[in-house]
Symmetry: D2
Subunit: 231 residues, 4 copies
């Protein structure tokens, strides 16, 4: 039996990008036919963000490669203004890499939908959680290998695998769509609108924010300053 | 322990719809400012389909409710010109309903990606497949219940569940997007472009086709006659 | 020469619709697997609007027929999450119906982009405005007819016509996309985010709001109460 | 009065781009987890195009700047899977640049919608066409300037201008959306599906094709070889 591997982290790589703060300003300025200095562009981008002139932010595009568990990818793919290519369990024998919560992952959910609080969980809960993730994954992987060894098609065998299995995909999206993703998937202290993201997708969002921010730092600064609501 | 349930079928219900063959014709005729008899509309819809004038087909919209395994929903949600609301494992204790292939499900995959053929599989393969699906599901469900009983959050506990678990969702989409879905997810004998859908999503596509067809039979007839390519 | 006609008003007809407040609630409740009374649905829709759970609002769809000048249609068609079918100057001899501002249309623009104020304009400005609209339209129409009479193709002849010419189109869109349209195209007193729409598209937005509101009054009430920002 | 200017040409500039043939291959290969040589990528892209695996082509994005008459922009903006920023007649005093057909522009339209043929037109038709375009533009521009001189708002004054007026805009779109645009807006000899584009937008499409092709020549070669249908 192939040895299973367990991870708690997500992988986010910036593969490619197009555009910059300057592209956003240039696209916006076509409407008025003006040009501006770098300093004036800062003010222009602030105004675009404040008044929800969102279309110039679509001039910046990114491609990322993401590794995360299926249960995270399931939430990610609900964002429709983006392009996806993902590992296929039909075309490929999958790799035995599974998610297990790290000790800092809050385990207790208190309150009602829309207003959950999370608390760490005690040592018994931590132990049960880690054990269940590992055993469920190992058992499932064992069945998966058995099915493949019996000559059963990959697309049937993979049905037994849990949503904690890691998948990987490329996502291409523009900055406006990324801002929308970040506004919903990161409960940032600057967020004006409350959001309750799953911790694991929040980890992905944080990495995307950090990498994408370098491409157009002024746009991100205004995003932060205007409550992290997508324009 | 709650008793697990196993199914091989998909559920597709047509919840609501808007428009008809007549709506498609009316939307198309605005461009030329003409009106037409029912018989002339048949010819008009044929021409729209043949010449890929797709936008009038967006006048018809549907809402469906679907029950299917997560591995099917994962493929479904890749269709971005549609609206989705799905059961959430964060908000709800999930129900122990799992997929198991029925005896007719082909189990052997032969050939290369893009040109797979499928064959039934022998009795050993059938037995191994059913057993693996059932045992993997039961084991996972056992861990899920243990985690919940220990007070672990639903959104953490569900990680151990397999992609064979049934989910349910509402999908709202227009006829043009539906045609695209059907062209890719049903290897219909009238299809001009070859496609290799997963059997389980093909079952969903067939039901959607049957229900949607009653709303605008002429549009569907031309879709069949023009190779089942979305206009 | 065909007699030209001048209008100041817009036409907005609700042709068809799908769904209701109940549909929105039903789509939202699939996530938690609950059901609720009509009164509980009111609270649910409030929560969806407040917390920007936008997808359930996509369960309601509308088809409208609009008559407006080309310069209004040009702004309307920038809304991409919608389906359009419009009169074609290539396929049809156009009708000589043109826009002229009515006496209440503010004519003076004061201030800077992003912060314009408008004032009525004096009697000279009103007279010049009406005269210019009428004469420009009549002159253009004369050239259009001359070109057609000379056997020149409709698609070439129409180039001489002004953007004040009326066009008509069908638009199909869902409630979430409509809320976004309304948030940008009507400077409503309840709007939390400032917007500076063109008066003529604002007239269209007001009519769409009035007609669409009857289909799902609870959703619209919460839209108003939450600053008319699309969820 | 400002001197009016007349053009028959379109301007298409490639401002920025992301990705390459290699990006398309890399995105596609994530599904099977394989890698390949440059030569194998050529075969892979062929297969993607043939079997309509369209999503990897969304890994390549472009930004163009376009100058064209309003009647061309009106058709262009019907392509919704793209991002636009355009000159605004509300924010800017427009420039007096107008379209006039060049001597090669076919002027006679023969046949029915969906099956038009075009013929050159005789010398009288050519003269009438040029004269009507010039006179209509000059008259309209005269009214526009009179209105501005009277202190009437730009957004009102521009109503008198014809759709032959040049506009300019930035458009950002991915390769898959571009292929769809090209399939509909260029009646290319390799096109498998008949299309009847307006000559003036066809000129834009040809320039976009030429510039975009350099970024990913293999993808474009397969597009040509597979009937110029978007995957």
């Amino acid at each position: 039996m192939t040895k299973t591997e367990f991870r708690s982290t997500m992988t986010v790589e910036l593969i490619d990008h197009m555009g910059s703060d300057e592209s956003i300003a240039r696209s916006a300025r076509v409407s008025s036919g003006t040009s501006g200095t770098e300093e004036q562009n800062v003010g222009l981008l602030r105004m675009l963000m404040r008044d929800r002139h969102g279309s110039p932010f679509e001039s910046v595009t990114y491609q990322f490669r993401i590794e995360c568990p299926i249960f995270v990818a399931r939430e990610f793919f609900r964002h429709r203004i983006a392009s996806y290519n993902e590992v296929s369990g039909r075309y490929k024998v999958l790799a035995p890499v599974f998610y297990v919560p790290d000790p800092d992952r809050p385990l207790m959910q208190i309150g009602k939908p829309g207003a959950y609080r999370f608390e760490p969980g005690d040592n018994v809960q931590k132990a049960v959680t880690v054990r269940a993730h590992i055993r469920a994954a190992e058992t499932a992987w064992d069945y998966y290998e058995t099915l493949l060894a019996s000559g059963v098609a990959r697309e049937v065998a993979r049905n037994v695998l849990p949503v904690s299995l890691y998948t990987s995909f490329y996502v291409t999206l523009n900055l406006r769509s990324l801002f929308n993703f970040l506004s919903l998937r990161w409960a940032h202290e600057d967020s004006k609108v409350p959001t309750f993201p799953l911790k694991e997708i929040e980890a992905v969002a944080k990495d995307m924010d950090r990498l994408a921010r370098e491409v157009c730092p002024v746009a991100f600064e205004h995003f932060d300053n205007h409550g992290r609501v997508a324009p």
